[in-house]
């Protein structure tokens, strides 16, 4: 299975699904599923393969090539498997919605573009697939018509800014080393001056910062996640935003090389330190803003930003443990954020479009599978022991604490506590509490939706208890960056300064829970009671008004709301308003009177002549 076949298969699959859609929707669903599953098989068969092949050099004679190494394989398998699950999920989610073949075409095109990004061997094909990814994402974000349009515009403008920066970066590399294949650039990079490397790092980190939503550049993310259709926002949050992390890895460790990207500048003002602090701020502020959200998907979106901060801190801190933590967190975050979006999508599907946190509740009786997915996703997001989130966060904390950065560690731990509060609000308002009247008999989640949720929940637990599986491939990647590999055993990490053994935590907790469960059953049997038999100071329960979900953390609301507004979003809105105002005024140059136009011509003539007389321009 060579790489060209893979790329051909990915892009071809997208177009063929569109055509199949024209014939019959059933055929299209099956075809889409087949495509993505086949992709999973192909990529997993390429496990230990390291090849580079040039596709074609029609583009101004530059060789556009594909490359496979442990890093590429790690991200590729994540992309392909998440897209397979999402396609399976959206088979029933999009059943009776209009324009579904357009949706499938875009979804598969985005996955193909992401695959091309990850496998690209040179910067131009990297840029081409990056652009294809961003404009097809734009088309899919604005799929949900009215509220999604401004979100789409905000997204595309910011990603255009990002890609323009990248274009300038790539072309400056091309002019400096006149080669674009990454392997050659790495050799030439040694000769480049430190200033040039810093310029490259900054330019590329703006692009990847926008895509990975580091705090000052994150404002597009909440609207884009909330407004796009749920299966797509799962892919968007799981894999697409993590292309930013792939980019950071590429630029910091592959191209500029680990040793000099980590020693850029002195002490506090070194590049990786500022990046780490940006990551820390990205963890804390969005997580606390997430607490004040009333829309389920907005809340998850703000968490997407927060968790992105962990990865940035892990990667920017530069020790092999931190790097392993950061990359492992990328995978974990992808798993549980997709799971959470799919479970919110399931709720949206059953209550046809309702996702306001204040008016839902008690759904765990009616939708057990979505609840299971939600609960495990949340445990992963918080990082409760036995879930995969815990392992990667543990790695990051250990590096920060032992790496003499207590304040960074404080920010990350505080972020975790912010996550706990806001994520509990998500669980409580959506699933637990009183089930309102009108949701008594909502649609059951169809099977096609339940399978991905169950699979993802299991992976959370499996990776949590046996973290060795993914850590092996991460180790291979770290070695390729030139770091010392971790000593990884199947169930944990044993390093000299404190081991982490997930198996004995798991076994002890399991045994103790079993013991107490037996004691619980042995005691007097408790009578089951429905939700209306509740203590209400002696009164009968009012049917629908008997729950506390609005402004779940009311005291914190009052204290924190003035400080936790999104300052950057307001700043960018002001800039946007200013450009519109400037555009309107500039248009007024064309007044519409011929006399003015003629004056312009004569002025131009005069200007030319005076320019010559004064500075002899010609």
């Amino acid at each position: 299975m060579s790489l060209e076949l893979l790329i051909m298969f990915a892009f071809g699959g997208a177009f063929l699904t569109y055509l199949a859609g024209k014939i019959s929707s059933k055929l299209r669903d099956i075809f889409a599923l087949l495509c993505s599953v086949a992709l999973v098989v192909i990529v997993s068969s390429l496990y230990k393969v390291e090849t580079t092949i040039t596709l074609y050099n029609g583009f101004f004679g530059m060789p556009l090539s594909m490359r496979l190494n442990p890093m590429a394989w790690f991200f590729a398998i994540a992309i392909v498997s998440s897209s397979a699950l999402v396609v399976l999920y959206s088979m029933s989610y999009m059943k009776h919605r209009e324009r579904t073949d357009y949706y499938y075409f875009m979804l598969l095109l985005i996955n193909a573009a992401m695959l091309a990004i990850v496998l690209s061997g040179d910067l131009v094909s990297f840029f081409i697939s990056w652009e294809i990814m961003s404009w097809s994402t734009f088309l899919l974000i604005s799929y949900n018509r009215n509220a999604a349009l401004p979100a789409g515009i905000k997204y595309i403008v910011m990603s255009l800014i990002g890609s323009m920066c990248m274009l300038v970066g790539i072309i400056s590399i091309y002019t400096a080393f006149d080669t674009i294949t990454i392997s050659e650039i790495v050799q030439h990079m040694a000769t480049a001056t430190a200033g040039y490397k810093l310029f490259l790092l900054i330019i590329f980190s703006i692009t990847f910062g926008i895509k990975n939503a580091v705090v000052p550049l994150h404002t597009w993310l909440p609207d884009a996640y909330a407004e796009s259709p749920s299966p797509f926002s799962a892919v968007l949050s799981g894999m697409l935003t993590r292309m930013g992390i792939f980019g950071f890895l590429l630029i910091m460790f592959v191209m500029v090389g680990a040793e000099n990207s980590l020693h850029m500048g002195r002490g506090f003002f070194s590049y990786h330190n500022i990046l780490a602090w940006l990551g820390a701020i990205t963890i804390v502020i969005p997580t606390f803003i997430a607490m004040l959200q009333n829309d389920a998907k907005k809340l998850l979106a703000w968490h997407g930003i927060g968790q992105g901060g962990y990865m940035i801190v892990g990667i920017a801190f530069g020790t092999s443990l931190g790097l392993a933590g950061g990359i492992f967190h990328t995978l974990n975050h992808a798993i549980y954020i997709i799971l959470l979006f799919l479970s919110v999508g399931a709720i949206e599907y059953s209550t046809n479009g309702l996702r306001d946190l204040n008016s839902l509740g008690g759904l765990f009786k009616k939708m057990p599978i979505a609840f299971l997915g939600g609960l495990l996703g949340i445990c992963g997001l918080i990082g409760i022991p036995l879930t995969n989130g815990f392992v990667s966060k543990w790695l990051i904390y250990k590096t920060l604490i032992l790496g003499k950065a207590p304040f960074l560690a404080f920010a990350t731990l505080l972020g975790t506590w912010g996550t706990i509060l806001s994520v509990y609000k998500f669980l409580h308002n959506l699933y637990l509490g009183q089930l309102p009247q009108e949701h008594q008999n909502i649609k059951k989640t169809p099977l096609a939706m339940q399978i991905p949720i169950v699979i993802l929940s299991l992976t959370i637990l499996v990776f949590g208890i046996l973290p060795g599986l993914p850590l092996k491939s991460i180790n291979a990647m770290i070695v390729s960056f030139g770091f010392t590999p971790l000593t990884v055993s199947i169930w944990g990490i044993s390093s000299e300064t404190g081991t982490l053994n997930m198996i004995n935590i798991f076994s002890i907790l399991l045994v103790v829970v079993a013991i107490f469960w037996l004691i619980f059953q042995a005691a007097r049997k408790s009578t089951a009671v429905d939700q209306y038999d509740n203590y209400a100071a002696g009164a009968a329960i009012p049917k629908d008004k008997y729950n506390y979900t609005v402004e779940f953390y009311a005291p914190f609301y009052r204290m924190a709301t003035p400080y936790l507004r999104d300052i950057f979003d307001m700043l960018y809105q002001k800039i946007a308003r200013f450009t519109e105002f400037a555009c309107d005024n500039i248009r007024k140059i064309y007044t519409g009177y011929v006399s003015d136009y003629i004056i312009y011509i004569i002025l131009f003539l005069a200007l030319l002549i005076s320019a010559q007389l004064k500075w002899s321009v010609f």
């Binding site: 404009w135 604005s142 450009t579 309107d584 248009r587 519409g592 136009y597 011509i601 010559q612």
Partner: protein
Amino acid sequence: MNEMSILDPVLLIAIPLGLAFLIPLLGLVSKKIVRWIPVVGFLFNGIVALLILPHVLKQPIIVKIGGFVPPFGINLYAGSVGMLLASLIAITGFLVSIYAVKYITKGAEQKYHILFLLLLTGATGVVLTGDIFNLFVFFEILCISSYALVAYLGTRSGLEASIKYLIQGSIGSSFLLIGIGLLYGQFGTLNMADLARQIVDYTEPSVFVSMVFMITGLGIEAAIFPLNAWLPDAHSSAPSSVSAVLSGIAIEVGLYAVIRVLFTIFAVSNFFIFFMVLGVLTVLIGEMSAFAQKNIKRMLAYSSIGQIGLIVFAFSISTQLGVAGGLFQMVSHTLGKALLFLCAGYMIFRTGSMEISSLEGIGKKMPITALCFTIGTFSIVGLPPFTGFASKFMIIRAALANGELLLQILIGLVLVGTIIEGAYFFKIIQTIYFKGAHKTDNREEAPVTALIPMLILVSFIIVIGMFPNIIDKVLQPAASELLDQVKYIGSVLG
């Protein structure tokens, strides 16, 4: 020179001119044939131009009209630049005339087709001529026929726009004439090569006056910043097929003339910084005023200004890469803008009004036209798989090649312009596909004669975008020819 075989640049001008005068006679026979004459004419022109193109790459063909030796007689200089633009004009003319067959039904059709032929002959003439007075003559044919065509619809806005265009155009032509007169007065010759030879060793500073007048004259037609006030009204109130040709070809030809004057005749050097700033200014003003537009054709007109600014900026880098980038940008702009105007034509025809808000939900009613429009926008904004990206890539490479700080700042501003351009174009795409109620999809697709040119243009855009090497073989010799003044003089004066 080779004999009167099929491969003779003169034919490119003669045939369409002849056909233009043939139309009234054929008109008497039957109305139907008249419509198809421009199509046949430009098909022939296209084939001839494409056949000549490979020969010209190394050695330009000099055609002496009437057998007079160059410095005295008028001669055509069919170099790689000339032939590239001529074939571009021919192909676009051919496609637009197919489009016009079904589009122009009301009004004096005959006059439309005559003027259309004249306009494109003028353009081909300007591109091929080697003599500045001949340049002026063809330039006049081009302008006058475009004044008339702008007013073709006979609507109030059309008339007003053409009058404004007429006034400014005539001022421009008179400046051009003054410039040519001064040159003729000083050097006694009208041949470009001869003039170039004499100016090189002419130390008198007063030569710049004629240059200034010529640049302003040609600049008006080339729509550089202060001089392009006529363009928004003219292009928006002309019928779509005419505005496609106008913004696709007329502006490029005007710009070619300015470049030819600057590079070959006066061979200026440090004028370019001024020209560069002017180009960037045009980009920014073009994009920003396009951003504030509600009417789709005015928006496309303003975006043409923006693109022209980009081409001016590219040429003013005056390196081999820069000029090649500029030419490539000309080609991609012609293709892209023609496609956009053609699609906009039928969209307005179906929805009845030019307002963008009326375009809501058209993606469902006219799926193929909407798709072509989207691909056109992506190409103009410069997104990867399309030509816009390849040409922009080349321009940015040229700008960053010599690493001057000024150039880097200017390229930054140009990219800001493209971001604004991306913003408003994507807003239109959203209005087309995602706004408007779920209308029942009663498909009122554009007629077949309109779809064929659109699809051909789209295929051109995708093919050149994916494999820019094809056109790169033509661009490099063209750029070297423009830059190398001595070679030009040598080849003309023998």
